[in-house]
Symmetry: C2
Subunit: 482 residues, 2 copies
């Protein structure tokens, strides 16, 4: 983990010096939200909060860091002295890690002084964007297997050593049963998995000797990699020969397919194993898998027991970044009053939702999620409230005319909860295993149509009437100026 | 940097225990190569060697690490004691960092005992794959700008904190002029860059006041972000107002576009700046750029002076992994003789090239690269040699019939050089600036047709007659067995 507050964008520091010099280091509210679901999907999983809370509490500048900043000849000595005592003193609200999330929703809200909020931006987005990307990808993979056994094998093609570590953590949250990365096993308590590489087989005079040697040392449940020479003619035959001796000792064995056509080979290998009297021998597969390939294999009934997924799960494959952004939504003015702020954009869908917000998840009387609503926690006319039995009008968060009416019959649960108060943890953090269980429980709250891998139903995210009025008024004010 | 040798795949350790128990920890040769060029391109840049050499020299198991391994109940105490003294004692050959590379070529060759080579695999591939991906992507971006000024702005969407650090390093190698990541500036000596975010502007009562405040603190070369409210009607006008005062003080200023149509806006902004009398004011752009978007803007003459590139450059965008693999190519047999090994596959193009190899880069009499040749450094009939004036037959490295004749008129330079001898550095490592210069020099060796972004000419990579015969003989031996 990096604790140096230099893990920030240079402009955060140049702006910080500006706020400091101009006596503008007042209270500010920043919110994190994302703009669109990755992978053409209908949901994402919020992840990375634990490492974020650990990092932000220790975020500081060492003497070394300050000496480096001084060498840049951009910063004045008194400001560097100010940074010497820098640590995060603000409050942080966030959703639970593992929560199913949707575009436009505030996932995290920071309330602090402008400088600390600005310096934390790069690190905060970096951690949340990456872990949410991978937890989301893994949840998709896990759903594609029919909630089966997914092993994360991504170390060698992950994006850097920590890319591998963070990915192992996020993949476990998203539904992976274990990882091949031993250090992630140690650091995060994730089960570690794996058996043999091609080099094991090539290091022995013959494939059979290699399998036998492995089974002798690891008799519990050896899994033989069967594609080094020829999957059907050589690998499967030798696995059966050696597996026979394993079964005679009262244990079970498995085989792993790592190249070739996975459907054809898994069917053939299953038949050979069954014919040899080993219907319980397991078949696992690996080789550039992703949720689409897995879904096809699952749908066509390929007899596969477990899935080793690497590269595309730990990097996101063809979508390698989550689109989380961090925007100022309110600031204290000279008189000490908190005023909402808005960012326009030449891309209209990028115009932000102003003010200090909460997200409520509306559920029906069966407890299934119906819609999420963004509302205000502070406004001149008081906070938004949602009451059972009441009928509300809700508005699309970026298009200004789409809306729907809803009578609240189930619950309306606020998703943002206080995590840091004046820089300190308010409650102990959940274990990784608890977060993983929360993800699974969350996914159960949503109808399958939202979880379809392609062309899913779009879940409703709306804003309250109060928030919409605030936004429209701010737009009107600014447009009037132009 | 992670020094724990637990940053490895679990199977490396289970296999290691097997080799150790079965007295098989003999000398082995492993080579790293990759299978196809990323991004539909015609070249890649080799990167990551420096961090790899630093990591592998310190790679070891702490008491903590060993206690964790013991808790898994997979490893015997005497083997764990063996790991207590583990460090890399072998030799490592590699290409220079920054070298232009092609599929099938050995980029790195390890000669060591089986166990150390196996344990290093995951970490080694992780570092090389990621940094080569990003150096390659950045070189493409840099070429697309017409070898212009590229700033790496990727921290917030890089894959984890170290993903950001490694990416900043690799992007600098690939041609970026600087980074926004301050910690990368400190650790690697990369120039740091950046000015203001939208939040700076939103923190002031008006855009003009925000610009003026910035210019007062940073009078040298303020760059105003002009799209917070409206790029043309508001941002550019205010930048000109404030810029006028900057220029009156004898300095220059710039503007940054961060949303909207970059071609249209850059042309309009250029016109407004010129009309206001500021032909030297600079225009920089950012907003989800990649080499394709940049090439279109460059080709259509958009008046852009510098390019801020983030997400897609530091993650690879829609290709998020480099396909480097690590294969056993020779091993010592029971009699102490080094014998070449081969891996077949049900995907024929995945069959490996056996033996202890070198790569020669053939150049013509003008010094331009003509072809790369893989040959043997050890074979029963002696090593391959390449002599000026001689005519050779060279064979396609994976198809067994394609070949060409070449009379060597320029040089034949071996690309793999010894870096570690018995685990120790043979010579000091180059600075990052030197590596960056080497990349630029390397790119000059290749005709533009190889560097085209899409559908490039395919550079010739072949094998010597001797290597081809070795491969065919091994294939025949094994096929005879089946």
């Amino acid at each position: 983990m990096i604790h140096s507050a230099l893990l920030t964008d240079f402009y955060a520091l140049t702006m910080a010096q500006g706020y400091w010099k101009n006596n503008m280091n007042k209270r500010a509210i920043f919110e994190v939200f994302f703009r669109r679901q990755p992978f053409g999907g209908g949901f994402s999983i919020f992840a990375g909060l634990g490492p974020l809370l650990d990092t932000i509490r220790d975020f500081s500048f060492s003497d070394d860091d300050l000496a480096y900043l001084e060498s840049l000849k951009f910063f004045e000595k008194p400001f560097l002295n100010y940074l010497r005592d820098f640590h995060f003193t603000g409050s942080l609200w966030a959703m639970d890690e593992g929560t199913v999330i949707f575009p436009q929703e505030p996932l995290i809200r920071l309330s602090g002084n402008l400088i600390e909020c600005q310096i934390a931006e790069g690190m905060l987005l970096n951690i949340i964007n990456f872990q949410s990307l991978i937890a989301t990808k893994t949840a998709r993979v896990w759903l594609a297997t029919g909630k089966g056994s997914v092993m994360e094998f991504g170390l060698r093609r992950a994006q850097g050593p920590d890319g591998a570590m963070s990915a192992s953590r996020a993949a476990f949250i998203g539904g992976a049963a274990g990882t091949s990365n031993v250090l992630a096993g140690k650091e995060y308590g994730i089960p570690v998995l794996g058996t043999m590489a091609h080099s094991w087989i090539m290091a022995y005079p013959s494939e059979e000797e290699a399998f036998q040697a492995y089974a002798d040392i690891y008799p519990e449940f050896p899994v033989f990699l069967i594609d080094t020479y020829d999957t059907l003619k050589s690998g499967t035959r030798n696995a059966i020969k050696v597996g026979k001796r394993v079964v005679e000792r009262g244990k079970n064995f498995g085989v792993r397919l790592d190249s070739g056509d996975m459907h054809y080979l898994s069917v053939q290998v299953r038949k050979l194993l069954d014919d040899a009297g080993f219907p319980n021998a397991k078949i696992s597969v690996s080789n550039d898998l992703d949720e689409s390939i897995i879904e096809t294999l699952t749908n066509t009934g390929a007899p596969i027991d477990s899935w080793g997924v690497g590269t595309r799960m730990v990097t996101g494959g063809d979508e390698s970044a989550f689109t989380g952004v961090y925007k100022l939504t309110a600031r204290e003015d000279a008189s000490g009053k908190l005023i909402p702020t808005i960012k326009f954009s030449d891309n209209p869908e990028k115009t932000t939702n102003p003010g200090l917000k909460q997200v409520w998840r509306l559920k029906d009387s069966q407890g299934m999620a119906v819609a999420d609503i963004l509302g205000l926690e502070e406004s001149p006319s008081g906070p938004d409230t949602l009451e059972q039995g009441s009928r509300y009008i809700f508005w699309h968060p970026s298009a200004d005319y789409r809306h729907f009416y809803h009578t609240l019959e189930g619950s309306a649960e606020p998703l943002l909860k206080l995590r840091l108060d004046k820089g300190s943890l308010v409650s102990p953090q959940p274990s990784l295993e608890e977060i993983r269980r929360h993800t699974k429980a969350e996914l159960e709250l949503f109808d399958n149509s939202y979880k379809r891998l392609l062309n899913p139903h779009v879940y409703k995210v709306s804003v309250t009437e109060k928030l919409r009025q605030l936004k429209l008024n701010l737009i009107k004010d600014y447009l009037g100026d132009l």
